[in-house]
């Protein structure tokens, strides 16, 4: 599966990627297809159709030593412009 890292961008406006996942590495679980970009819809602007992916992370990756069950996984739906492809 394709490995990706979530960008560490921290802009002051409306974004749809939670901070606790930024900088974390996961795998593409599936491509969900294009959806209108909520980050521009939020400002009353048209939402360009933007690829959305379901990305799977391990709890160890997300929470480090605080993870109670490190091998459990967490899925998050993240737009492509937040993802850096690693391989």
């Amino acid at each position: 599966m394709t490995r990706v890292r979530v960008h560490t961008y921290m802009p002051p406006g409306h974004v749809r990627t939670p901070a606790y996942l930024r900088g974390k590495t996961g795998v593409i679980e599936r491509a969900l297809g294009p959806f209108p970009n909520p980050e521009t819809l939020a400002y009353g602007l048209p939402g360009a159709r933007t690829d959305l992916y379901r990305v799977r992370f391990t709890m160890a990756e997300v929470w480090g030593d605080m993870a109670e069950t490190p091998t459990d996984t967490l899925d998050a739906e993240i737009f492509g412009h937040w993802l850096e492809r690693l391989d």
């Binding site: 921290m10 409306h14 400002y43 009353g44 939402g47 929470w63």
Partner: protein, 119 residues
Amino acid sequence: MTNTIPPDARRWHDMGGDPAGPVPQDQHDFSLWEKRVDALMVIGSSTGHFTVDGLRRVLEDMGPDAFDRLTYYERWIAAINQNLIESGVYTTHDLAVKMAQITARGDTYGTATTPPTTP
């Protein structure tokens, strides 16, 4: 695992992973004005005057103290109002005139549980 994000850049509402207490499970009845706010949200978004994304943007921009000052539906109506002004449905002057009319109806209107009977 690496985390190079400056901690102070995270926005206040983006609280995933923060320590938190139990989720309140108690229910309550909704007053008439709260139901109307809910209806206004459905009507306004289904007719294309705003998106749920636009409502979220305004709620986030209110800042954390809004959650102490305002109730759930007070925050909703503030966000709906901001979006309706931005999309040109009415002006702030229109709103001012309407608010004066509503105020003239009396103090009990906002807590009514049934619609007023029309004469």
